[in-house]
Symmetry: C2
Subunit: 233 residues, 2 copies
């Protein structure tokens, strides 16, 4: 549970990176703590992105030698786990709105997706550490409650809640990949036009297929279908 070998001492007041002027022996040496390292790491991910979180960048921002990081928090994987702890514990709760189970669950799915997308890098970090289940546990609890209230039995609640969570997190991970790329090399339209068979004889089909998919609309459609199927029966 503890993060490294260091004690949870409170952080010394930041003196900035500059050396003290005037005094003979300059204070070019900074003192840090495991707490400060983890918090700074989290800040880097939030302000500069996950791929900028590097041991050297960390040490630079903390004005210490690279090797000091290792003394306080151990290796990078251990550090990432500590950061993941922090992200998980700070992750907000879902606000569910609506009266009946169906709209309530749909709003929960929408809200969860929005939260995860808002902090895509934090989610990616947690996911990379294999801690997604922990991150989603509050949401799972709420969705579970909704399904229980809707009258499902234990088995159906467990499977249904997991289905909804998988659907949301899967959609977020896919979206992220789509957006990170400069663009799919071949657009869906091109892919379809390349093979003009596949139901081209039905009116309207090709037209619908070659239109680019709106991720938001696709998500609402899938959520709505999945949730209604979970609730019926």
């Amino acid at each position: 549970m503890t993060v490294g070998r260091g004690q949870g001492a409170d952080e010394s007041p930041a003196r900035g990176a500059g050396r003290a002027r005037g005094t003979g022996r300059a204070a070019s040496r900074n003192t840090i703590s495991a707490e400060a390292v983890v918090e700074t790491a989290l800040q880097i991910v939030e302000s500069e992105g996950l791929e900028r979180l590097t041991v050297r960048r960390l040490s630079e921002k903390l004005s210490v030698a690279v090797t000091s990081i290792y003394w306080h928090v151990g290796d990078k994987d251990t550090l990432l786990d500590a950061v993941a702890d922090r992200i998980v514990s700070r992750f907000g709760r879902l606000t569910v709105s609506g009266a009946r189970p169906r709209p309530r669950l749909e709003s929960a799915a929408r809200r969860l997706r929005a939260m995860l997308r808002d902090q895509a890098d934090l989610v990616a970090l947690v996911h990379g550490q294999g801690r997604t289940a922990e991150l989603l546990q509050p949401a799972r609890r709420q969705i579970t409650r909704e399904l229980v209230d809707a009258g499902l039995d234990g088995q159906e609640v467990a499977l249904g809640a997991q289905a909804i969570l998988n659907h949301v997190i899967g959609s977020v991970l896919l979206d992220r990949q789509m957006e990170r790329q400069p663009a799919q090399r071949r657009t869906p339209e091109e892919l379809w036009l390349a093979d003009a068979e596949a139901g081209a004889h039905r009116p309207g089909i090709m037209q619908a297929l070659t239109r680019p998919v709106d991720a938001e609309r696709q998500f609402r459609y899938s959520s709505s279908r999945l949730i209604s199927a979970i609730l019926t029966k």
Copy 2:
């Protein structure tokens, strides 16, 4: 479309890494081609895993200097794109079984998931290049045909097919992450027991929730629900 600056010359017979014996001027220099580089890269991913695919490992396996790789295929991202081309073009077709739309679509989803899981590293590579849509295009075509045959209209076919594809690829990406980790640090059971509220008053609920999820069973449940909801109405 072409892979690099090199021509598609056929590969010279492999002479192995050893130097010719006896002859004064040893043949320590090998001649390669863009084709050979891409094919060898694919082999490395298949036999040693994606993270072992490194420019240096490639050059070692081809018995050339590291820099020769760059001459033939450009930088690593370009190489990965060329490998992705190959994976996409070789990716097998789905075999669909069953008589009615529902079992046919369920078997398609199961088969697609199995194929993607069988070659998780290849899928990860393609996904990393943002080329997932291309990889899934054959499957999309087949699923589209099934939905058309089931009588859905254009809009519903497009949304429904995408929903099924997202569901399958999402589940594969999640499974992969779960398996790559040594183990979730906190198991679902622990997470639930940590907060003993949430419907604990209903009989059977807690018991169902604290049982570890079988990924296979969860997938079948989600697929079945999603597909039946797509087909109705």
